[in-house]
C-alpha cells in the first residue's frame, strides 16, 4: 500500500514537473521571427565542431557586420560570432569564459562600442543574451553582473516566473518551435540583403564625461587577462558604422589601452575606403549596420589581416572542415537568394517581418 502511494506520488511529481517544463518552454519568447536576435546565443551549442580559429564577441556591430562564411571562402578561416543585441562587456567576458569550456580560439575579436556602458541597461536586452546561455556557474555570474535592480536571479533560473503572463501573446511560432528552433544565423551572423543608403546622421551631443567607466574597464582588463592566460590574441575593433556616434575621445582611450596592453585595435571607420565599403549600398538601415554586401567586404578586408598577422591556417584543404562549411555555404546562399526573392516580390523581407 505504502509502495503504491509512493509510486503514485512519484508519477504525480514527474507529471507536474514535466507540465511545468513544457509550460515554461511554451511561454518563453522564441525569437524566430521579427525579433530574431534573441536566438543568437543559443545557436552556438548546436555546432558539431567548435574549434574555431576566431571568435567574435560584442553587440550588433559584430553579428551584423562580419560574414564568417566569407572568411571561410576567402581564407579558409573558421570563425564564430558570439554576439547578441546590446551585449554588455561583462556578458562578453562571461561568454568567452564559457566558450573556453568548449574550445580555445587563436584569436578573439571584441567590438569596443560596449565600453560606453558601465552598468546594466535593460532587461529585454539582458534576456536576449542570458536566456540563450546554457545553465552553468558562468551563466549565473553573468546574470549577477547584468541584472537591473528590479530583476531577480530566480526569474532567470525559472523563466516561467517571468514569462507566465505571456499566455495571451502566444502565437503559432510558440507552438511550432516548442522543442526546437530552425537555424536562423550563419555562425552567429545575422544576414540582411536589403539596402537603405546612409544619409546625414544626427549631430553628436556633448557628453558630461567621455571617460569609459571603471566597471567597463575592469571587464576589459579581465578579458585581456583571460586571453593572455590562454594564449589567445585579443583584437579590439570598432565596426564601420556611423551611428551611434563613436567619439574621438573614446577612440583615443581605446588606442591608449591597446598600446598599454600590447593589443591590436582597429577602428574600421578609418578603413572604410580600404575595405571598399560604400554606405550608399552596403548598409540596410542608413549606416547603423552593414548589409550582407558590406559584411562580406569587411570580412574580406579583415580576413587578410587575420590570416597574415596571426598566420591562421587555411583549412579549405581539410576534408572535415570543408564538408562542414559547404553545408554552411549552401544555407547562406539559400537564405541570401530567399531574401532577394522576397525583396523583389514584396519590397521587404516578409519572412523576417521586417518592413523597409
Amino acid at each position: 500500500m505504502v509502495r503504491k502511494k509512493l509510486i503514485i506520488g512519484a508519477v504525480a511529481i514527474v507529471l507536474l514537473l514535466g507540465s511545468l517544463y513544457v509550460l515554461q518552454r511554451l511561454l518563453m519568447p522564441k525569437y524566430v521571427s521579427g525579433i530574431v536576435e534573441g536566438s543568437l546565443i543559443g545557436e552556438y551549442y548546436k555546432e558539431d565542431r567548435k574549434d574555431f580559429d576566431v571568435v567574435f564577441l560584442g553587440d550588433c556591430e559584430v553579428y551584423e557586420n562580419f560574414s564568417p562564411v566569407k572568411l571561410w571562402e576567402k581564407y579558409g578561416i573558421t570563425s564564430y560570432i558570439r554576439g547578441s543585441a546590446q551585449q554588455l562587456i561583462w556578458q562578453s567576458y562571461y561568454l568567452l569564459e564559457e566558450t573556453l569550456k568548449y574550445e580555445k580560439p587563436k584569436v578573439v575579436v571584441f567590438n569596443v562600442l560596449a565600453m560606453q556602458y558601465n552598468e546594466p541597461q535593460k532587461e529585454e536586452y539582458n534576456r536576449m543574451t542570458l536566456d540563450g546561455m546554457e545553465l552553468s556557474a558562468i551563466k549565473l555570474k553573468s546574470i549577477q553582473a547584468s541584472m537591473m535592480k528590479s530583476e531577480h536571479l530566480v526569474d532567470y533560473l525559472a523563466p516561467l516566473l517571468r514569462f507566465h503572463s505571456r499566455w495571451d501573446q502566444l502565437s503559432e511560432d510558440d507552438f511550432t518551435n516548442l522543442f526546437g528552433k530552425e537555424k536562423l544565423f550563419h555562425n552567429g551572423y545575422y544576414m540582411r540583403v536589403d539596402v537603405k543608403p546612409a544619409g546625414r546622421v544626427p549631430r553628436a551631443p556633448r557628453l558630461p564625461d567621455y571617460r569609459f567607466g571603471s566597471n567597463a574597464y575592469s571587464y576589459l582588463d579581465r578579458l585581456t587577462e583571460l586571453c593572455k592566460e590562454n594564449g589567445i590574441k585579443l583584437v579590439l575593433v570598432k565596426a564601420p558604422t556611423i551611428y551611434p556616434h563613436w567619439y574621438d575621445e573614446w577612440d583615443t582611450q581605446m588606442e591608449q589601452y591597446a598600446a598599454a596592453h600590447d593589443l591590436t585595435y582597429i577602428n574600421f571607420l578609418k578603413h572604410m575606403d580600404d575595405a571598399g565599403i560604400d554606405l550608399q549600398t552596403d548598409t540596410y538601415d542608413a549606416g547603423l549596420h552593414l548589409n550582407v554586401y558590406g559584411a562580406e567586404k569587411l570580412a574580406t578586408y579583415f580576413g587578410a589581416f587575420l590570416a597574415d598577422t596571426y598566420r591562421l591556417q587555411d583549412h579549405r584543404t581539410d576534408e572535415t572542415w570543408s564538408g562542414i562549411w559547404q553545408k554552411k555555404i549552401d544555407f547562406y546562399d539559400r537564405m541570401k537568394q530567399d531574401q532577394l526573392d522576397e525583396l523583389a516580390k514584396y519590397g521587404y523581407l516578409k519572412r523576417y517581418k521586417v518592413e523597409t
Partner: protein, 189 residues
C-alpha cells in the same frame, strides 16, 4: 502525500503569480546624451499603462522655439508641423526591437521623438548653439551661476552633469569649466 502535492502545486502557483510584468517601471531615463538605443529604452516602453504620454507631458519642462511650445511627452506631429521642415531627418531602429527613434534637426536644436502605439511623442530636445535659450533664459556658454539663478539649487549632480527634475521631464546641463556646454530637455520614464 496528497497534502504534499497540493502544497507543491500551491507553492508553484504562488511563485508563478509573483513574476513581474514584462514592462519595467521606474528605470533610468533614455537620454540622447547617453545614446541609449531606441524603442526598447524609450519612455514608451515604460510609461505606466494608466498614464498616456499626453498626460505625462502636462507638468514637465517645456522648451520654446519661436513661440512654439515643445513639452516632453507631447504628441510630436502638431509641434513638428508648426516648426516647419527640418534641415534633416534621421530615423533609427533599436537593435532587435521594433519602433523607430526619429530625430529632426533644426538649425539650433534637434528634436527626438519616440513611438508608442503608432503615435510619435517628444522624447528629447537638445540645444546646439546660443541663439536659442531655455524658457527661463539660459543658453549655451552661460555660467553655472546663471543656471542656478534660473532653476535654483535643487539639482542632482554627477561629474559635469547637472539635472533638474520636473514632473515627467528633466532639464540636463553639462557644465565644464563654469560654462554650459550642453542643454537637453528629456522625457523621463
Amino acid at each position: 502525500m496528497k497534502k504534499t502535492m497540493i502544497g507543491l502545486i500551491a507553492l508553484l502557483l504562488v511563485l508563478s503569480g509573483c513574476g513581474s510584468k514584462t514592462t519595467e517601471e521606474g528605470s533610468t531615463s533614455p537620454s540622447a546624451l547617453t545614446q541609449t538605443e531606441g524603442a526598447a529604452a524609450s519612455p514608451a516602453a515604460s510609461t505606466p499603462a494608466s498614464e498616456t504620454p499626453e498626460q505625462a507631458s502636462g507638468d514637465g519642462f517645456v522648451f520654446e522655439a519661436n513661440g512654439i511650445a515643445i513639452p516632453m511627452h507631447a504628441e510630436a506631429a502638431p509641434i513638428l508641423k508648426q516648426l516647419g521642415k527640418p534641415q534633416s531627418y534621421f530615423e533609427s531602429q533599436a537593435c532587435a526591437f521594433p519602433g523607430l527613434n526619429k530625430i529632426y534637426q533644426y538649425s539650433s536644436f534637434d528634436v527626438y521623438a519616440y513611438e508608442k502605439d503608432g503615435v510619435d511623442y517628444i522624447a528629447s530636445v537638445i540645444l546646439f548653439d546660443d541663439t536659442v535659450a531655455t524658457k527661463e533664459g539660459v543658453t549655451l556658454f552661460n555660467k553655472k551661476s546663471d543656471v542656478i539663478k534660473a532653476y535654483g539649487d535643487k539639482f542632482t549632480n554627477n561629474l559635469n552633469l547637472y539635472v533638474y527634475d520636473q514632473g515627467k521631464s528633466q532639464l540636463r546641463f553639462v557644465i565644464e569649466n563654469d560654462q554650459v556646454t550642453s542643454i537637453e530637455y528629456l522625457a523621463k520614464i
